[in-house]
């Protein structure tokens, strides 16, 4: 429950004391000057009074500090803007459970790098069990069947593979952006899928890459764009969310 006040300060051991603890390194040898420098930084960070509780040389050129102090800043909760992801983040376990419950079969994901792009870094980070940023890839999910077609896959091949595997979702990675190749490739891909499938039966089309503008999904004819730093967990959570939205069927789809 939120407290009555919209203005709050950090809490050390007494309401309103504003106490925080920070640690940092300065690129200078440990001496009186360094300690003074650390306190100056603390003051500029808004800590007053600040206590330098620990300073230690790390080699001849660096010093590590721990500082406690009272933050002079106030937090106004009315000014906090929360940007909501349109889907909730689920754990691997919840993703699996949801698929099991909703689909009563495995969710099939087909992934590829299309066009001349040979950079499988992105698609592999999402699909391979090795994963990315400490999260396991989609292969790790027991209720997701992953078909990774690899690099330089031709669009017709990708469509054929998606049909053969009865894909629920198609993941395409585009790293190369020379002459807007990523845009052109993506549009070709989405057009091909719309052509090959009856309306409303097209699998979820998801593209990822470091240079896609967010908010471009509709123009590119895809359902979702993922940018740099996307983790497999986000993609899995999105797929489950989108599946619920589109009402993917539990029956083996007849395509």
């Amino acid at each position: 429950m939120r407290k009555t006040s919209d203005i709050i300060r950090p809490y050390g051991d007494t309401t309103g004391d504003g106490m925080v603890q920070v640690s940092f390194t300065l690129p200078m040898p440990h001496d009186k000057l360094a300690e003074g420098a650390a306190l100056q930084l603390a003051a500029k960070m808004g800590l007053a009074p600040a206590m330098l509780v620990h300073a230690k040389a790390m080699g001849p050129d660096f010093t590590f500090f721990v500082v406690y102090g009272s933050a002079t800043h106030l937090v106004d909760l009315r000014d906090v803007v929360v940007i909501e992801r349109e889907f909730p983040m689920l754990s691997a376990k919840d993703v699996n459970a949801t698929i099991k419950k909703r689909l009563r079969r495995k969710l099939v994901v087909v992934g590829a790098c299309i066009g001349t792009d040979a950079h499988t870094v992105g698609i592999d980070a999402i699909l391979n069990i090795k994963g990315f940023a400490g999260e396991k890839g989609l292969e790790y999910y027991s209720e997701i069947t992953v078909v990774n077609c690899g690099a330089q896959v031709l669009v017709p091949e990708l469509v054929a593979r998606a049909r053969a595997e009865k894909a629920d979702a198609v993941l395409v990675s585009q790293v190369v952006t020379q002459k807007d190749a990523h845009i052109r490739n993506t549009m070709t891909m989405s057009a091909a899928f719309r052509e090959a499938y009856p309306a409303g039966k097209v699998p979820l089309l998801v593209v990822g890459g470091p240079r896609f503008e967010q908010g471009l999904a509709a123009r590119l004819g895809v359902d979702r764009i993922f940018g740099k730093g996307t983790t497999p967990g986000e993609v899995a959570s999105y797929l489950v969310h989108a599946m619920a939205q589109t009402g993917a069927t539990t029956k083996e789809q007849t395509r």
């Binding site: 660096f62 069990i129 090795k130």
Partner: protein
Amino acid sequence: MSTVTHMSRISRAKPKLELDPIVIRKARSLARKAGAPVVKLSRTHTTVSVERAVLRLAGLSGADHDGVPWVNHLVDAVRGEVGLEHGVTTPVFDALRRGEAPDLLTLAQKSAAGSVSFRLPQGRESTAAQSLALRSVKPGMARIDKNRATRDRLIKRHGDPKQRPWIYLIVATGDIYEDIPQAQTAAREGADIIAVIRSTGQSLLDFVPEGATREGYAGTYATQENFRLMRAALDEVSKELGRYIRLVNYASGLCMPEIATMAGLERLDMMLNDSMYGILFRDINPIRTFVDQRFSRQIHARAGIIINTGEDNYLTTADAVDAAHTVTVSQLMNEYFAKEAGLQDWQLGLGHAFEINPDIPDSFRMELAQALLARQLFPNAPLKWMPPTKHMTGDVFRGYLLDGFFNLVGAMTGQDILLVGMMTEAVVTPFLSDRDLALQNVRYVINAAGNLSEDFHPPRDGFIQTRARQVLSEAVDLLERIVDDRGEPGSVPLLRAIGDGTFGLMKRPADAGKGLDGVVKRAPGYDNPATTLLATTLLEGGDTK
């Protein structure tokens, strides 16, 4: 005798666990049974990367203006014209003998332009080409031998680390010129071993990038020039510190044999090299992996390189309690494959990790049991002990405590190579201060409790002994299931087990996966001068160290 072995023996005088020697023998014999058909497969196949590695040993290096290495051009050209079934060297050195080009580099350049024709020489001409090939590969092999001698000399001069476990730290900026000062700083702060982690995705490149590189994704590309630069920098700091600082890289992925070769040519000291990691975690074709791996390990054996295996990875995907025995099975398989390829006990950095969920009761006792089990099963191997990653939450304070307990297990159970855990695991690339704090953690534990193994004897049939026995017996059961699963005649049980998803939950059939098209069945006349030279060391090598 290496110092590792020597020191290990002192602290391991008395076994801590009462394991049934009959069960241990059975485990090893099952591992042999499971592995032997795979070795046979490795002896009857070659791969594009093995063939490229041979050309590298013969001195071919460099790349065209698009960065495609000349070894790739030459192997592709030979494959296109006469196939690789007889090995790349016979047609290549035959072409040189016929005067198609004055040297390998020119031949490769001409072959890229399509202006060389290759053939399979017969009879005397074939013998002549093969003996020229053997002569041409010898200098490369001699350089590997010389590097090994240099390493031994430098270790004698500068000394090994004073404490055990040896302290292993990772640097990875993506830029080799940033990595160098970071590695030197890490050594000055106490690291004994520096690993330069590779760029994400390098394992799936079917070529080795060329030259010094300044751009990588979450790591720095493994290139021969980067190896050379870093080794030189560590030689400098070894001299300054009076302690030989070892350098690690990764012989894994599609170019495993070539990278192993480069490591030998540039005096790297340890290489990550797991028997099944690429198959399971990178979806590389199983046969490609086993063929590449055998050649890599033969090179490592010759180069005096310590391999590090990757059992820690199993525990990041499967549960560390339920799947504990898969670690033991993998260690046994890695040991079998390594020894078959000529590696000796002191070169087997078998891996394992502190990955049991800290929220479950007795997690620390189970970690101790598992670490002791590995210690006792492989008494003369320099075990590599890997820090928690899966249960590092971002709460850096809790993470620091967990790393302390990890260090304690390492100190109490006589581990040899300790990968330093960072409290910022899964948060950010470690800060300078994170590394310093992590090293303080290690030093405190080793200093305070390093000799605790003297006093620590888990009671007979107590929790720890029972747990260790249980894991060992589950490992034996799993090996039995693999070996007994007969299938159709001629099929390889281990490959079928991998295809069925026995390890790490992944199904990897033998006829799928990346790099499959680079596998070639050897013809009866197959010749590989590097393998010939490596096999002679196996016979003569014996106890060179």
